[in-house]
């Protein structure tokens, strides 16, 4: 719940967020397994599902896409890598005063438990503007299909 992103602005967005959190507390949204996802970790992850695929969106700004390691092992998708502090940071010469240091630095690893019907053989990953988008296809057998009556 203590995410690295907090609601900004007036009281109303804050209340809306509180309400969403309460709603979720009383109606857990499906993925409450033994490896259910923790809040507040880096990178923040959203997981969505469509009839064809499972979409994992990891918000990982400031990371070189080449350095992200993605593995799938028996229904667990793991994302790991390292976020280094920006090289231009602290290179201003002379004395530097730091006023805020909220951004994550260091090694990270997040493991996401994929739904049963995900196909670990078909994984695609894209990276754009600091967002890693992993698409895991669903198994053919679990896709909805229509059975015609002959």
């Amino acid at each position: 719940m203590f995410s690295s992103y907090q609601a900004a602005g007036s009281l109303f967005p804050e209340l809306t967020r509180l309400q969403q959190q309460l709603e979720e507390f009383f109606q857990p949204a499906g993925v409450a397994g033994i490896r259910s996802l923790a809040y507040g970790a880096f990178p923040a992850v959203n997981v969505g599902s469509t009839p064809e695929s499972v979409e994992v969106i990891a918000f990982a700004p400031g990371i070189d896409p080449k350095e992200i390691e993605i593995t799938v092992d028996r229904g667990l998708l793991s994302l790991s890598g390292e976020r280094r502090s920006d090289p231009s940071q602290g290179q201003q010469g002379g004395q530097t005063n730091t006023y805020a240091q909220e951004r994550f630095t260091g090694r990270f690893r997040r493991v996401i438990s994929l739904p049963e019907d995900a196909d670990p053989g078909k994984v695609e990953a894209k990276f754009r503007d600091g967002v890693l988008h992993v698409t895991v296809a669903k198994k053919e057998s679990s896709k909805p299909r229509q059975i015609s009556v002959s």
């Binding site: 309400q19 499906g30 959203n46 400031g62 602290g90 967002v131 988008h133």
Partner: protein, 136 residues
């Protein structure tokens, strides 16, 4: 409000009720995490704004108020159903108050891999000066 933003949207009804309100009403926004450091030449600010492209980013200075604002865009299939979400709004917004010794006209901004870097230089007269002591 394109369909592409719905990966971070959970409560559809609240969006419907909000459309009737004024355009400039504050939308639910997230405050991006920032690093702020001050050196001799000015202040450097880093802000995490994942998914925000250059076109969807605005940096505004009004008086002594600096606001950074952006909208994340992620291309997802239209029929997506969210199972879990930690980022609940595609909007990022955060404001800062600039002190008088900074020169808002010379702010430099770069956006790379979802990280915004701002350099706000100090005005000439506010830079540290070395005063030579003359030996009489």
């Amino acid at each position: 409000m394109s369909d592409n933003t719905n990966v971070t949207r959970t409560n559809q009804t609240s969006n419907v009720t909000r459309t009737g309100q004024k355009e400039n009403m504050p939308r639910a926004a997230l405050a991006p995490a920032v690093d702020i450091a001050e050196g001799a030449s000015g202040i450097t600010l880093f802000a995490d704004m994942p998914g925000v492209s250059k076109e969807r980013l605005t940096i505004q200075v009004e008086g002594d108020n600096l606001t950074i604002e952006g909208q994340a865009q992620v291309d997802v299939p239209e029929n997506i159903e969210l199972l879990h979400s930690e980022v609940r709004s595609p909007y990022f917004r955060r404001s800062f108050t600039l002190s008088r010794d900074l020169d808002p006209a010379k702010i430099e901004a770069t956006l790379r891999n979802g990280v915004l870097q701002l350099h706000i230089p100090k005005s000439e007269e506010a830079r540290p000066k070395r005063i030579d002591v003359k030996v009489a």
